[in-house]
Amino acid sequence: MRAFGWRAVVVFALLAALPLVPGVSRYYLLLAFDALLFGAIAMSLDLLMGYTGLVSFGHAAFYGLGAYATAILMERGVQSVWACVGFALLVVGLYALVVSYFATARRGIYFALLTLIFAEVVYTFFRYTQTFGGSDGIQGLPDATLFPGLVIDTPTRKYYLVLAYLAVAYAICRVLVASHFGRVLVAIRENEDRARFLGYNVQRYKMGACMISALLTGVAGAIYPMRSAFATPDLMLWTESGEFIISVMIGGLGTLVGPIIGGVFFTILRDKVSSIVDWYFIVIGVVLIVIVLFMPRGLLGLRRIFSRERATA
């Protein structure tokens, strides 16, 4: 609770009350599911982008692998949320170990490229081999069970599942960025050469940050089929990684809360605009360009403007 802060408690309490609001339909609960899941992923990516200074173009692979982990188990009759999440942690963890080992050996654009290339290999495997259903992926999955007798079948329950995940992931990230480990990550972002001269094995810290970010993203992936009932290779497409990065930028780098807001904003914007026009990506693109150009600190940066106005008023 200490790491959480009272404001976060209030926000999560309000979010928990959402299904109780009269007139909130199934549609909106599932949209809220998607929005919070996207926010949780953007927050995980922020550990790398905002705190460590590493831009990963391969987070879609962690997400997609998590989703397939759930789908593969469910296809074989395992419906436990815990088993699926555990299997996702194992699969994503092994993959992330390999990716982070090689990617953190290089800096800047090379790190970004290596994460992208690894992710494309994974995408190609799932998309172009029939091992796990090819382009159709794995469809028609059953509902997951949290405990014997508690099936995650209604939109409300699905919504609470993702909300609980977001709360846990947020608490983990908060503790992490305030910890010794988190402060070293910031030092690496600021000046990795000097960090080495202070006795820090920089690559090990970067690997640690990659692993934690990947595992959190993988769990988000594991939860997704519990709402959608499918896992497809599209979840691993590099555009998906791009949307995670955009969400972090929209929200505000290195703030944790900002990327959650960014992910929610992006998901809702995409949903709303795409229901009106087919060329919705042009609209989204314009909105994003405006945000990046005029709000370099992201949506959360607006907070500064308001607090300054209050101070001078």
Binding site: S179, F181, R183, E190, L198, G199, N201
Partner: protein, 248 residues
Amino acid sequence: MILEVDDVSKRFGALAALTRVSFGVEAGQVFSVIGPNGAGKSTLFNVVSGLFAPNTGRVRFRGEDIAGLPPERVNRLGLAKTFQITNVFPEISVLDNVRVAAQSRAPESGRPSSLWRRPDVDGTVVALLEAFGLAARGEAHAKNLSHGEQRYLEICVALATSPTLLLLDEPTAGMTPGETRDATALIRKVVLERGLTLLLIEHDMSVVMGISDRVAVLHFGEKIAEGTPDAIRHDPRVIEAYLGGGDD
């Protein structure tokens, strides 16, 4: 002998930056390496601190061969260095700069508990900032410090890793003569108080003469003289090197 540099050579392509340089530093000594610009002083530091592996020769720190070890390993053995061009963490506070350095020596460092705990090192950190007159600037971002303050922060960050041997690379670079005098006196004081051994690189001879126990002179990558400050001041080869060619 806390540091032994034995017959070290370092080449960059055709350029012989260091040629068969040897010297030894006793525990508790202030040892200075001087020489005109381009004499190979910084290369020597980079070899000792782990950035470059020497082409030939050995570097022993407290009896252990450290030539070619990565900087983080060398630092953990108790050897810290500062940089000629200030090299700190610009977008975080002065306090956090020194904290992250001090925390590398906390028992949690490198252990799983460092993922959720933040060791309290503020006693060490505040003492260091006070020693260098930076206590009032603790909350400022490092990039907003004055040049002189940044030079002091550079030293604080290195000292926070509790070294036994401190390598200072032109600590007074860019300071006015007045600031240089103050800084030199302060460094001398702190080094004595903490019982450190100091290896100092200087381009400005006046800085080292007052505080050094021993001085070595590099010229075009070779050691041309070594001795007490007095002996060095009157050494004809040194005078020739400084007044003759190759100077700035």
